[in-house]
């Protein structure tokens, strides 16, 4: 199953993945119109210090602690992709408490948010990968 992999060696810390992520969930066609004057809250986030930077988003674990711990059943894993039913999420943050990657974050509307590999917005083509200028984020099938 295809997953997102991040290689900090090539991460430039340009933060564009965050913007492409935020843009992807707006369902608009023009990024300028979609994001002008908007403070973004992306599902992929850069961690950085002076020298190192890398993007962190959901790893879509085989044994997902977030799904197992979800008190509402809003998080589920299907075909290897962990998705969230935002309608059922009540924002208790048990998943934020559980995720060892820090990849689930509060959203602006109470529910939590996480990377869903753009399956709901871009036909399963992760936009962070498409927008990374240096191949630091890849989406590929690897042998387990």
């Amino acid at each position: 199953m295809k997953r997102i992999y991040v290689n900090e060696k090539w991460c430039l810390g340009c933060h564009l993945c965050e913007y492409y992520c935020a843009f992807a969930s707006t369902n608009q066609s023009d990024m300028a119109r979609a994001l002008c004057g908007v403070k973004i809250n992306p599902k992929i986030k850069i961690e950085e210090n002076d020298k190192i930077s890398f993007a962190v988003s959901c790893r879509h674990c085989d044994e997902p602690l977030c799904v197992k711990g979800c008190i509402t059943g809003a998080l589920s894993r299907k075909d290897g992709v962990i998705t969230i039913d935002r309608d059922r999420c009540i924002g208790c943050y048990t998943c934020i408490l559980s995720c060892p990657y820090g990849a689930i974050s509060p959203s602006d509307d109470g529910a939590v948010q996480k990377c869903e590999l753009c399956i709901k917005t871009n036909g399963g083509k992760p936009q962070c990968v498409a927008g990374c200028p240096n191949g630091a984020i890849v989406f590929e099938e690897r042998g387990e």
Partner: protein
């Protein structure tokens, strides 16, 4: 193979999902003394608050039982287990045989004997959907509600009905959420709850109830229309205890979630298990642990060899928009941060993170949880950095590469 599961909540669902990974043929029978499709108990306060509905409270979709080929007997309780005949006796007089049995009976509210309690007409507990339904009917605009117990259940209940009711909360402890917060944290949460109209009478207990009043141990009196008893819960251990199974505060299980009785497993709030953050056995009545124990039991019941030995106490809870995230135990040295309404305490010692409390900012809390759960040696990470800011940055380059997949 016939699997019988007593209980219909998180542990039961975990078990069903695990069994079906290994055995698609075996018969699964779920027996529940409630009348509902599996639902999430912690959501009952959100239901009262209007943040969820009975439909959305369902812990799994309507098709869950049929998709997993489960038979479900609702409104039926198990009265006894016959371990020799390998069957369970039911409240309707019938019995059901099992090859593997899972006891996921949860817990019941503990109601202490207090003088005059029988005189109170409108008194409730608050752990089931029935409780919530009944309470919702009883509380009307302007009702005076007395909640005995300022723990997780009592306070969630308070939040749930706060829009309508005038609430007073009484607790023997002089702090709110004394089981999961330290003094400082309790103070912040209490102030926040008070800002939202909840009144507290702490450090006192009810000496005697009248029909609509409670006499407190300090001699004062509180009037109420509705009483909620939320002192605590007790694991439902009787079924196992009665057949000689080992029972402490909860049903004793091993790391494969097996009880001391052959072919009988137990999971969830009815059990006690090892808290890896302290090494002590305790009842950790938390939904994530219930699911994972249920899963572990299900795996082992259906032939896999599966170990769940990563249980820690942990809580994610919020009141009126303020989030509280805690995990592990609060022993050792302390790192404290307190600013802009955010409160952070990390407890560490012996080169490990033992536990933490976050109030307000919950960002990346799971990274702390993983340190507690995995007993990560703190000298292998940049602890100073992670104290300030939880993140993968604090791990070594190799660990980061492994976590993020750049290592091939």
């Amino acid at each position: 193979m016939k699997y019988v599961i007593i209980g219909n909540s998180a542990a039961a669902v975990g078990a069903v999902e695990a069994i079906r990974q290994n055995d698609t043929e075996g018969k699964i029978l779920i027996i529940s003394d409630e009348s509902y499709h599996t639902y999430s108990r912690p959501l009952i306060s959100y239901l009262l608050l209007g943040k969820t509905t009975r439909e959305k409270m369902k812990y799994r979709s309507d098709s869950f039982y049929s998709e997993n080929n489960c038979e479900v007997m609702l409104s039926t309780s198990v009265t006894a287990i016959d371990k020799d005949a390998k069957c369970v006796l039911l409240s309707n007089g019938e019995s059901e045989s099992y090859d593997k049995l899972l006891v996921a009976t949860g817990s019941s509210p503990f109601v202490p004997p207090v003088n005059g309690l029988d005189k109170v007409e409108k008194k409730f507990t608050f752990i089931s959907l029935d409780d919530a339904n009944a309470l919702e009917k009883a509380v009307t605009e302007g009702s005076k509600v007395l909640i005995v117990g300022a723990g997780l259940i009592g306070l969630k209940c308070a939040e749930g009905i706060s829009a309508k009711a005038d609430i007073t909360c009484v607790d023997l402890s002089d702090r709110v959420l004394s089981s999961i917060l330290d003094d400082g944290g309790s103070e912040i949460v209490k102030a926040h709850l008070e800002d939202n109209g909840i009144k507290f009478r702490l450090g006192v207990q009810v000496s005697e109830f009248g029909k609509n009043s409670a006499l407190l141990s300090d001699g004062t009196k509180v009037e109420f229309d509705v009483l909620v008893m939320a002192v605590g819960v007790r694991p439902n251990t009787a079924l196992v205890k009665n057949i000689g199974g080992e029972v402490g505060r909860g049903i004793v299980i091993n790391e494969r979630c097996a009880t001391s009785v052959e072919d009988i497993y137990a999971a969830g709030d009815c059990c006690e298990s090892m808290d890896v953050s302290t090494g002590e056995k305790k009842v950790m009545a938390l939904l994530p642990n219930a699911y994972m124990q249920g899963e572990c039991a299900g795996m082992n019941m259906s032939g896999a060899d599966f170990v769940f030995d990563k249980a820690i106490p942990m809580n994610a809870i919020g009141f009126f928009g303020k989030h509280i995230i805690t995990a592990g135990s609060y022993t050792g040295e302390v790192y404290t941060e307190c600013e802009d309404g955010n409160y952070k305490k990390l407890f560490y010692g012996d080169n490990k993170l033992n536990g933490f409390i976050l109030i307000g900012n919950a960002e990346k809390a799971g990274i702390y949880t993983s340190l507690v759960r995995e007993r990560t040696k703190l000298d292998t990470i940049d602890f100073e950095l992670i104290c300030e800011k939880p993140g993968l940055m604090a791990f070594s380059k190799d660990v980061r590469a492994e976590k993020l997949g750049s290592a091939q």
